[in-house]
Subunit: 131 residues, 4 copies
C-alpha cells in the first residue's frame, strides 16, 4: 500500500526530471483505488494541467496501463476508441500516466502534465523509478 511518504518521494524525483528538462509540470500520485494521494503544481506550470495530471494517474490505475500505450488503442479506428467518454470524464488518453508497481503488483499510478507528451512521459518514468 502506497503511503504519503512514497508519493512524496515519487513526486520529488519527477520534479527533478522536470527541472532538468526545463519544463514545469503538474504531478499527481494515486493509490490502488485510483484515489489521489498527493499533487503538486510546479511554479509556472499550466493550470489546465492540474486536472489532467490527476486524471492521468486515475486512468493508468483504472486500466493498469500507461496512458501512452492506451493512446495507441484509443484513436479513431482503434479497438478502444470512445473510452475517453467513460468514467464520467476521468479518462485521459495521451502520454503522461504510468502505473506504479511493487513486487510486480500495481499499487497506484503517477500522472504528469505540463509539456509535450514525450516530456510528460519521461517525467512520469523518473517518478515511477523512485518507488
Amino acid at each position: 500500500m502506497l503511503k504519503l511518504e512514497d508519493a512524496r518521494r515519487i513526486i520529488g524525483a519527477a520534479e527533478l526530471k522536470a527541472a532538468e528538462i526545463g519544463q514545469p509540470m503538474n504531478i499527481a500520485v494515486a493509490d490502488s483505488g485510483g484515489n489521489l494521494i498527493a499533487h503538486v503544481r510546479m511554479d509556472g506550470a499550466w493550470i489546465g494541467s492540474i486536472d489532467i495530471s490527476i486524471k492521468k494517474a486515475y486512468t493508468s490505475r483504472a486500466f493498469d496501463i500507461s496512458t501512452k500505450d492506451l493512446a495507441g488503442e484509443s484513436q479513431s479506428g482503434g479497438q478502444f476508441f470512445g473510452i475517453h467518454a467513460s468514467n464520467d470524464g476521468r479518462i485521459m488518453i495521451f502520454a503522461g500516466g504510468i502505473p506504479l508497481k511493487q513486487d510486480g503488483q500495481v499499487v497506484g499510478a503517477i500522472g504528469v502534465s505540463g509539456g509535450s507528451g514525450e516530456q510528460d512521459h519521461a517525467v512520469a518514468e523518473a517518478g515511477a523509478a523512485a518507488l
Copy 2:
C-alpha cells in the same frame, strides 16, 4: 421481462468464459429500459471497466445493436461519429455490449469490459447465449 435470476445465469455463463480465456472481467446486465439489473467485477478486473461494462449494456439496449457493430459507424468519418457525446456520456462505442433477445424481441443487454475488444465481445456472447 428479464428477472434477477436471468441476469445471474447470464453473468455466470460470462464469468465461465472469462475464466476460460484467463482475463478477469466486469459484467453487467440491463433490462428493457436500459436500467442495470446486476453487475459483478471479477477479482483482479480493471476498476475503470466497472463504468464501461454498465454503459456498454445501456448502449446496446439503447440502440438494439452490439457495441461492436455500433463502433463501425461511429469512428471519425462514420455516419454516427459523435454519438458517444450523447446520452450524458452513457454511450460506449467499442466492442463488449450485446442486446439480449427472447422470442426475437430485445429484452435487455449485456455489457462486458476487462480485456481486448475481441475478448469482451466473446465473453458477452457467452453470457447472451445463456438466456
Copy 3:
C-alpha cells in the same frame, strides 16, 4: 481485501432480509477504494435506487461512517451541511450505507436502497453481518 465471493455472500444475506421484510431492494458492495464490486436489483425494486445504492456504498467507505449517522450531521444547521454537493454528486446522506469491517479495519461498504430509511439500514446491517 474484499473478493467477489465476499460481496456475493453479503448481498445474499441482504436479499434474505429484504425478502423477510417484503420490500425488494437494490444492493451494492464497494471495495476499500470505494469502487463497485457487485450490484443486484431485486425483481420489482425501484430503478431510481440503482444509483442510490451504489452511491451509498461509496459514501460509507469515503467517510468510514454509516450514511444514517452522516445524515445526522448533514441537515441544514449541521456541521457537514452541504457535503452532498461534494464528490461530483456521489454522496448520499440518508440511511442505507454501512462500512464493512474486517479485524477492525474498514475494507469496503454496502449500500442499500429500495424502501424506507429504516428498512434500507436494516437490510444493510444484515448484509454487513455476513462478512
Copy 4:
C-alpha cells in the same frame, strides 16, 4: 504570488497540527486564481475528503471568506442558501477553508477535510499561520 514552496510550508504546518490532534487530514492549497497548487492526503485520511479539501480551498478564495463563516449564511433560511449549487459543484459551505493573506491581500486559500468541522478549521488555521 504564492509559490509551491509556500504551499509546502503551509501544508507542513497543517500536517503538524493534524498529527497533534490525532486526526489524519486532506490538505489543499489554491492560488489567487482558485487553482490548486498542492494537495496531500495523510495516511488513513478519508478518501471522500480529497475532493472536499480542494473545493474548500477554491471556495475560500472564490469569496475571500472562510467556509466556516460562509456556512453561517448558507443554511436553509440564510441569505446565501443555495450557493452550494453554483460553480458546477465546487462550493463547500462547511468549516475547513480559510483565505491566505499577504500584506492584507488575499493571495490564495487553504482547504482542510478529514475530521469534525472544528478540527478541520483548526488545522486550516495552523496552515494559514505559516504563510
